[in-house]
C-alpha cells in the first residue's frame, strides 16, 4: 500500500486519503479490487464490501465538492464513478467472473460463441413456454406456467453460478483452459437472465420495459 502524498498516512484506497480527505488522481489501469483495497479473490464478503463503498464514498462523492474548483469536482466525479464501477464488479457474481476471465487472458464473449446443442434446445423450450403465455394472456394457468419456468431458470442460474465460482476458487492461472469453460457458463447466464427478464415483463402484463 502506498502513502498519502499530503499526510503520509497509509492509503486504504487509491481514490483518496481517509485520514486527511485529499482526493488522488487514479491511473486508468488501477483494478476494481485495488480501488476497494481488496486482494483479488472470488471470496467476497458482501457486508464488508458495502462498508468500504460507504467509507470511500464519504471521501469522494461530488456532493461534498459542490463549492470546489472545477478540477477538483471533475476528480470527485471520476473517482466516484470508478468506485461505483468497482463495487458493481465485485458485488455481482457474473460481472466479477467476467472480469477475472478477461484479466486472466481468457476468451471474451465474442471469442467463445459456441453453446452446447442441448443448452440451445432448452432455450427453444423456454421460448415456447413464453410465447404460449404471451398468446394466452394473463390468467391463472399462464401464471402457473410462468412461475414454474421461473423456478426452473433460477435454479439453473444458481447452479451455473456455483459452477463458475467453483472454477474460480482458487483463481485459475493466467491463460488456464478452465477460463474457456467459465466463459461458456457466463454466456449461459446471459441467456438465462434474458428469459427471466421476459417472464418478469409478462407477469406485470405490460410491455417489456417502459
Amino acid at each position: 500500500m502506498s502513502r498519502c502524498p499530503q499526510c503520509a498516512t497509509e492509503l486504504e484506497t487509491p481514490v483518496g486519503c481517509v485520514a486527511c480527505g485529499r482526493l488522488l488522481a487514479l491511473d486508468a489501469d488501477v483494478t476494481p479490487f485495488a480501488i476497494l483495497g481488496w486482494v483479488p479473490t472470488d471470496e467476497i464478503d458482501a457486508r464488508e464490501l458495502h462498508k468500504r463503498l460507504l467509507r470511500f464514498s464519504r471521501l469522494t462523492h461530488p456532493d461534498y465538492f459542490a463549492a470546489a474548483s472545477p478540477e477538483v469536482r471533475a476528480l470527485a466525479e471520476s473517482n466516484s464513478a470508478r468506485l461505483n464501477e468497482a463495487r458493481d464488479i465485485l458485488a455481482d457474481d457474473a460481472r466479477r467472473a467476467d472480469w477475472f476471465v478477461r484479466n486472466l487472458g481468457g476468451p471474451d464473449e465474442n471469442d467463445e460463441r459456441q453453446m452446447p446443442k442441448e443448452f440451445l434446445l432448452e432455450v427453444l423450450e423456454w421460448n415456447e413456454v413464453l410465447e404460449e403465455a404471451q398468446a394466452a394472456g394473463p390468467n391463472a394457468a399462464t401464471t402457473a406456467h410462468l412461475d414454474e419456468l421461473e423456478q426452473e431458470l433460477r435454479a439453473q442460474r444458481a447452479e451455473t453460478i456455483d459452477s463458475i465460482r467453483a472454477r474460480l476458487t482458487p483463481l485459475p492461472a493466467r491463460g488456464a483452459s478452465s477460463l474457456r469453460d467459465i466463459r461458456r457458463d457466463l454466456n449461459a447466464v446471459r441467456y438465462l437472465d434474458r428469459a427471466l427478464g421476459d417472464i418478469e415483463a409478462q407477469r406485470l402484463s405490460r410491455p417489456a420495459v417502459r
Partner: protein
C-alpha cells in the same frame, strides 16, 4: 484547517441555499433555518405557487395564484402543467395537447414551443418564469435576502433530456443549481429517515402530473435508491379528468356540443372536478358544481366516494403495478420495507392510502404536508451541500439504461438502469471505410430492444478521426453520468492518441448557445420587465388596500373624526383613478398616500379588536 473555515462560512447568510420543488401543479421553496427546514411563503398565504403562467395583453406574465385565476376567463393565454413538456417532443405529448387550449409547434430538433399571444416560448423559458416567481417569494420571505443557489427536485423517472431542461430553466431564472435531486429521495430526507441506522423505505409520490415510486435503502446515514418505477403521465390531473368526463357527458345535452368544446368551459369543468375530488378526501360524498351565468347554467352533480373510487380504480391499479415493479427491481420482499412515505397532494385520496398500505403492509407516513415534503427535503440537501457536512450522503441511481443505436436499429446498452451514479462506461468503435474521418451516433435512453422504442437523447458526431485503413482506428467513446444524472460524452482515438471532437445535439433541448442567447435577451429586457412587474405589483397592492378600506368605511364613518374620514375617502377615490396610470412613480406616490390616510382607520380597528378581546375579563386576567 479547512473544516473550521467551512463552519464559519456556514453561519454567514451568504451560504444559504434554497430547496425548490418545481412541480407540475405547484412549486415552492424551502430553506434550512434554525436547525430545521421550513417552507417559504409570501405573508400568510400558502407556500404553494401554482405552476401556472398567465400572459396578459400588456405587461409581464403573471405566475401563480393570479395566473391560475385567469384560467377560466382566458384559457388560451394561461399555461398549465408545463413540466409535462420539459424535454419532450410533440409526439410525446400529443394526447395532452389535445385537451389543452394552446397552440404548439416544434423546432427541427424537437424542442416544443407553445404559442401565446403570437410569441413562442420553450418549456424551459416558461419553467424559468415559475422559478423566478418562487425565487422572488423566497427573497421576500427571507426579508430581502437574495439567494441564488438551489437544489431543484425532479421526478425520479426524469430522463437525461428532462433533467437537462430543468437545469437550463434554472439557469434562465438566474439560479445556480447545486444539485438535481429526485423527489422521493428528498421526501425521505424531509422525514429524517436518515436517522435510522438501517432500513428500507418505499416512497409513493402521486402528484398533479407525475407518479413515481422509489425503494431506498438507508444505512449509516447513506441513502441508496435501489429502484425506481413510475409513470410520467399519471397524477391528480388524471383523477380530475375522470370526473370531468362525467360532467362533459351529462352536460352535453344541456349546453350543446359547441360549448362542451369551448376552452373556457373545459377549464371550468376541470376546476369543478378538482374541487370535488379534494372534498371527497375528507367526506364520503361531494358535489361537482358548475355555474356559468352567460349560459344560465347552475349544474350540480353528487359524487360518492364509492363512485369516485370505481371510476379511478384503474389509475390506482397502475400506480400499484409500478410499486410491484420497483419492489421486484429492488430485489426486496414486501416484509423488508420498513417505512412508507406518501408524497403529493393526490396521496390524500383515501383509496390511494388504503391500497398503498395494503400493498406494502405498513401504515404510511403522513405527518408532514405531502405537498411540502419534497421542498423540505430539498432544503435539507441544500444545507448539506453548502455546509460540506459529511454526516450524511445521498447515493442515487440512474433510472433508465443508456445505449447507442447500432446497425439495424437495435440498441447496444452502455450503462444499465439502476447503476449507482456517478458512473461511466467506455465503448470502442472502429471505422468501416478507409480514411474515414467522421461517424454519427444516436444516444438512446430506455429499456426496449429497438432504438425507435427508446427515447433519443440526441445525436452526436465524431469528427477528426485520423485517416487510417478501415478497421484500424480505435475510438474510445466515454459516457459519464454525473451526480445530477446528467450525461456527458467524450471521445479519443487510441492508436494515435488524437482526441476526436464530439458535438452533441440535444433532442428536445437547448444548446448552450441558445441558453446564452436567451439569457442575453432577458438581460436586455430585464429593465422593462422590472418596471412592468413593479407597476403590476403596485396596482395589485393598491387594489387590495382599497378593497380592505371600503369594507370598513362604515366603521370609519362612525369612529373617526370628520377630517380623517374625508381625508380617507379622498385618498380612496384618488387611488381608484390612479390605478389606470402606468407611471410607477405616480403609483408609488398614490400607494404611500393611501397608506398614510388609512393609518387612523387601522388604529381604530385595532382598538376595536382589543376592546372586544378585553370585554368581560377582569383586570387580573389581562
Amino acid at each position: 484547517m479547512g473544516y473550521i473555515e467551512l463552519e464559519v462560512l456556514n453561519n454567514s447568510a451568504s451560504e444559504l441555499a434554497l430547496g425548490i420543488d418545481l412541480g407540475t401543479t405547484n412549486s415552492l421553496a424551502a430553506v434550512w433555518r434554525d436547525g430545521r427546514p421550513s417552507v417559504l411563503h409570501a405573508e400568510a398565504r400558502s407556500a404553494l405557487v401554482p405552476s401556472v403562467i398567465y400572459f396578459p395583453k400588456d405587461g409581464p406574465p403573471l405566475v401563480g395564484r393570479e395566473a391560475r385565476d385567469q384560467a377560466v376567463v382566458d384559457p388560451r393565454n394561461t399555461i398549465f402543467s408545463i413540466k409535462r413538456f420539459m424535454g419532450r417532443g410533440l409526439k410525446d405529448v400529443g394526447p395532452e395537447l389535445a385537451s389543452l387550449p394552446y397552440k404548439a409547434s416544434e423546432t427541427e430538433r424537437g424542442l416544443i414551443q407553445l404559442e401565446v399571444r403570437g410569441k413562442k416560448y420553450s418549456p424551459q423559458e416558461l419553467s424559468a418564469l415559475i422559478l423566478m416567481r418562487v425565487k422572488n417569494i423566497a427573497y421576500a420571505a427571507l426579508g430581502g435576502q437574495e439567494v441564488t443557489r438551489a437544489v431543484i427536485t425532479v421526478p425520479a423517472y426524469f430522463d437525461d433530456t428532462q433533467r437537462q431542461a430543468t437545469r437550463d430553466a434554472a439557469r434562465l431564472a438566474g439560479i445556480d443549481v447545486l444539485r438535481i435531486v429526485n423527489e422521493p429521495t428528498a421526501a425521505s430526507l424531509a422525514y429524517g429517515l436518515d436517522q435510522r441506522g438501517q432500513g428500507n423505505v418505499a416512497v409513493y409520490d402521486l402528484g398533479g402530473g407525475t407518479f413515481d415510486v422509489s425503494i431506498l435503502s438507508i444505512e449509516d446515514g447513506v441513502f441508496r435508491v435501489l429502484a425506481t418505477a413510475g409513470d410520467t403521465h399519471l397524477g391528480g390531473d388524471d383523477f380530475d379528468q375522470r370526473l370531468a368526463e362525467i360532467a362533459r357527458t351529462e352536460l352535453r345535452a344541456k349546453v350543446g356540443p359547441q360549448t362542451i368544446e369551448d376552452p373556457g368551459f373545459q377549464q371550468g369543468v376541470r376546476l369543478a372536478a378538482e374541487k370535488c375530488k379534494i372534498e371527497l378526501s375528507h367526506q364520503p360524498e361531494a358535489e361537482m358544481h358548475l355555474v356559468v351565468p352567460e349560459l344560465r347554467l347552475n349544474w350540480r352533480r353528487r359524487v360518492t366516494r364509492e363512485e369516485f373510487d370505481r371510476i379511478t380504480a384503474d389509475l390506482v391499479n397502475r400506480s400499484i403495478d409500478a410499486c410491484r415493479q420497483a419492489l421486484s427491481d429492488s430485489r426486496l420482499a414486501r416484509q423488508q420495507i420498513d417505512e412508507v412515505v406518501l408524497v403529493g397532494g393526490s396521496s390524500r385520496i383515501p383509496a390511494v392510502r388504503a391500497r398503498v398500505e395494503e400493498f406494502f403492509g405498513r401504515k404510511p407516513h403522513t405527518e408532514l404536508n405531502p405537498e411540502e415534503v419534497v421542498a423540505l427535503g430539498a432544503a435539507v440537501q441544500a444545507h448539506i451541500l453548502v455546509g460540506g457536512k459529511r454526516d450524511m450522503l445521498l447515493m442515487d441511481v440512474t433510472p433508465l439504461s443508456l445505449g447507442l443505436e447500432t446497425m439495424g436499429g437495435a440498441v447496444s446498452k452502455v450503462i444499465q438502469r439502476n447503476s449507482t451514479i456517478p458512473c461511466h462506461a467506455t465503448e470502442g468503435f472502429t471505422t468501416y471505410a478507409d480514411n474515414q474521418t467522421g461517424m454519427d451516433f444516436n444516444i438512446v435512453q430506455g429499456e426496449r430492444e429497438l432504438a425507435r422504442d427508446c427515447r433519443s437523447l440526441g445525436t452526436f458526431q465524431l469528427r477528426g478521426i485520423p485517416p487510417l485503413p478501415a478497421g484500424m482506428a480505435r475510438i474510445a467513446v466515454r459516457f459519464h453520468i454525473d451526480a445530477d444524472g446528467l450525461l456527458t460524452v467524450s471521445a479519443k482515438e487510441e492508436s494515435t492518441g488524437a482526441s476526436a471532437h464530439i458535438e452533441v445535439k440535444p433532442m428536445h433541448g437547448l444548446t448552450d448557445g441558445e441558453v446564452e442567447a436567451m439569457l442575453k435577451a432577458s438581460f436586455d429586457h430585464a429593465r422593462d420587465d422590472f418596471e412592468s412587474r413593479r407597476i403590476a405589483d403596485l396596482r395589485i397592492e393598491i387594489g387590495t388596500m382599497v378593497h380592505a378600506t371600503e369594507k370598513h368605511l362604515n366603521a370609519a364613518h362612525a369612529g373617526l373624526d370628520r377630517e380623517s374620514y374625508l381625508d380617507l375617502t379622498e385618498a380612496v377615490a384618488k387611488a381608484k383613478n390612479a390605478a389606470e396610470t402606468s407611471d410607477p412613480v405616480a403609483l408609488q406616490k398614490t400607494r404611500d398616500e393611501l397608506e398614510r390616510a388609512t393609518l387612523p382607520l387601522a388604529s381604530l380597528l385595532m382598538n376595536n379588536v382589543a376592546q372586544k378581546a378585553l370585554m368581560g375579563k377582569s383586570l387580573n386576567d389581562v
